[in-house]
Amino acid sequence: MLQIQNIRQFWLGVLFGVIGLIALWELPRPIGTLTAMGPGYFPMLLGIGLVLAGAASIVIGIRSHSHTEVEPLSLVPTFFIISGIVAMALLIDRAGLAVSLLFMVLGTCYDRVLKHPIEVAVIYIAVLGMTWGVFLHLIKLPIKLFW
């Protein structure tokens, strides 16, 4: 039974390979030649390089003697925080700063909303006040406060 020792190096290799293959699959055309490079020439070199790096990395991962483990990661905060940021991105043009920030704060403070609702509300108002003051009032970014 094959036991992969350096599991990080192995999965990094897979990641490199996948990105390299995507780059080659979506390669911009024309490629051109070394003395007359098209938009695809340099990405082609990179794609090939990544596939090679990926293959090497996988081989090293399998044959390596140094043992590594994958860092544990809690999926819950990743999900909520990224969702909060995504919600903010999607809402900022349509619903304005106030609403988009509300969703962002709800997402990032997911674990405290139910336990400490007042604290979260205070954080929200403080963040809204700060961003309004700096970005809308002072720097006059073209962001609406409301929809």
Binding site: I19, M37, L50, A53, E71, I81, V86, I92, T108, D111
Partner: protein, 506 residues
């Protein structure tokens, strides 16, 4: 003497109450903004340029320069306290600054970094003043081949510092180069990897990449913890550096200054690369390299001095040649021209008051930074007494809006979120994102110069070895690389997973 006279005139210009005020405003705003992760000097200068339209030329340049080096300096503050680099050049300051903070020595680390910045600033200022008149022809010697070699050096040098295997580093570099290649090919105008998304057709937003890979990733990783204070015990007794800190630091400061001053002169390299190489140099020279990554003061002051010296000598190619040496300098160049001054060899002869006034103001600005930062350190320390979950909604909000403001594009925030996920993946797999982010910045320079070098050299890849300057750069790079790999293999083994060790609670 001609040079002294010019310098005196410069101080005369910079010391007017009005210009002193602009310098103070610039340094203060720059510091305040630099402390915020995700909003670096580039964004700040870009945002504040409209303010300078109604100001006199010299005043506006003094203020923007103040923002630039103020932000450069302040980025280290968040790096030390939060393990969040305020901008790319302070990435390495995290490596030892943050462990120092965890040992309760944040105050000393901040004070030493302020002092090293000041010393480096003073020396670099003298270098700019003394060398500018002679430097334009040295920089002219850099053509496509030399640029390409320099960039390769930059990427490989950055890899020396990371703990990853060579294959991992190369892979990370190539991912970064691919991300940098997204958008319109600058030479042919064809779109690449834009997938029909309008804000990608202009190329990726660098601020979004930085925020995604650093700020978001960091926050997600910490979100489980309740307060930073639990991770670090701050105390004010540590604010004053010990005698030991000073004796350990004076040599690294001088070395970093020399290195940064030299690197800053070359377009394309700059504070970030200088800080990276400065770190690896200190580690290489240290008697006990194993202390690095665990809170060695040399690992803070060396790169800090190098970055600040480079931030200032960076003005040399811009003021003498009109070549912006980095994104922030490109925007400064814009500010210069808004005032109707064409950059290039003419600046020094046609606008001596502006040139020398700006140079003198850099020194004054550095003095102000020293005076400004040391008393404010207490404020930053107190800021960290706040529970982490209170701190990160505003950090995310400022980062998101900062990203958004570059192009008023909500997609850029989405893009940053996506890179946040990628950053999490890299963290799980223990790969350092630093070479990736450097590659994103250097991609256009690397590709365009590769292209030009191939045209001029008729597709002969060996031009890079035939050209004496590029051969010298590549040999130097290889020598450093081999030296490091062969003689210090033990260090690499020791640094493996340095990031993770640094993150473990003390």
């Amino acid at each position: 003497m001609d040079f002294l006279q010019s310098l005196l005139m410069g101080f005369h210009v910079a010391m007017t109450p009005e210009n002193l005020m602009f310098c103070l405003i610039g340094a203060t705003v720059g510091t305040a903004v630099g402390v915020l992760p995700g909003i670096g000097p580039v964004t700040t200068i870009a945002m504040l340029i409209p303010l300078t339209f109604h100001m006199p030329a010299i005043g506006s340049l003094i203020m923007l320069a103040g923002i630039y080096y103020g932000a450069n300096h302040a980025g280290s503050t968040t790096a030390i306290m939060l393990n969040m680099p305020g901008e790319p050049s302070s990435v390495v300051v995290c490596l030892d600054g943050y462990p120092l903070a965890k040992k309760g020595r944040a105050g000393a680390a901040l004070a030493m970094s302020a002092i090293s910045s000041f010393v480096a600033g003073c020396v670099a200022f003298m270098i700019v003043a003394a060398l500018s008149p002679q430097l334009s022809h040295i920089a002219l010697a850099f053509g496509p081949t030399e640029y390409f070699a320099t960039i390769v050096m930059a990427l490989i040098m950055a890899s020396i510092l990371t703990d990853d295997s060579l294959v991992t580093t190369l892979g990370m570099c190539m991912i970064g180069l691919l991300i940098g290649a997204v958008g319109t090919d600058l030479t042919t105008g064809d779109e690449r990897y834009a997938f029909g998304i309008p804000s990608l057709s202009d190329g990726v937003n660098f601020v979004a990449v930085a925020v995604g890979l650093y700020a978001f990733t960091e926050i997600i990783e910490y979100s489980g913890t309740t307060a930073i204070r639990q991770k670090m015990s701050f105390s004010f007794r540590g604010l004053i550096p010990s005698r030991d800190d000073l004796t350990r630091s004076w040599k690294p400061i001088l070395r970093g200054t020399a290195l940064g001053s030299a690197f800053g002169i070359f377009p394309g390299t700059g504070p970030m690369l200088s800080s990276f190489v400065g770190y690896s140099m200190e580690k290489r020279l240290a008697k006990d390299p194993s202390r690095f990554g665990k809170g060695a003061i040399e690992g803070v002051v060396g790169p800090e001095a190098a970055a600040n010296a480079a931030a200032i000598t960076h003005f040399i190619p811009m003021l003498t040649l009109g070549i912006p040496a980095g994104a922030a300098m490109a925007i400064m160049l814009g500010a210069l021209q808004i005032q109707g001054i064409a950059p290039g060899p003419g600046v020094m002869t046609d606008h001596p008051a502006l040139f020398w006034g700006l140079i003198a103001s850099m020194w004054i600005g550095n003095l102000m930074l020293l005076v400004l930062n040391l008393p404010l350190i207490g404020l930053w320390v107190r800021l960290l007494g706040m529970p982490f979950h209170v701190l990160y909604p505003p950090i995310i909000a400022f980062s998101c809006i900062g990203v958004y403001s570059e192009q008023n594009s909500y997609f850029d925030i989405l893009f940053a979120a996506g890179l946040g996920l990628l950053g999490i993946l890299f963290r799980i797999l223990g790969a350092n994102p630093a070479p990736l982010i450097l590659s994103v910045v250097l991609e256009p320079l690397l590709e365009q110069n590769f292209r030009r070098a191939m045209i001029i050299g008729n597709g002969d890849v060996s031009v890079f070895l035939k050209n004496p300057i590029s051969l010298g750069i590549l040999l130097f790079t290889a020598a450093v690389m081999i030296y490091f790999k062969v003689k210090r293999k033990s260090i690499i083994d020791d640094v493996v997973n340095l990031d993770d060790k640094a993150r473990e609670p003390a």
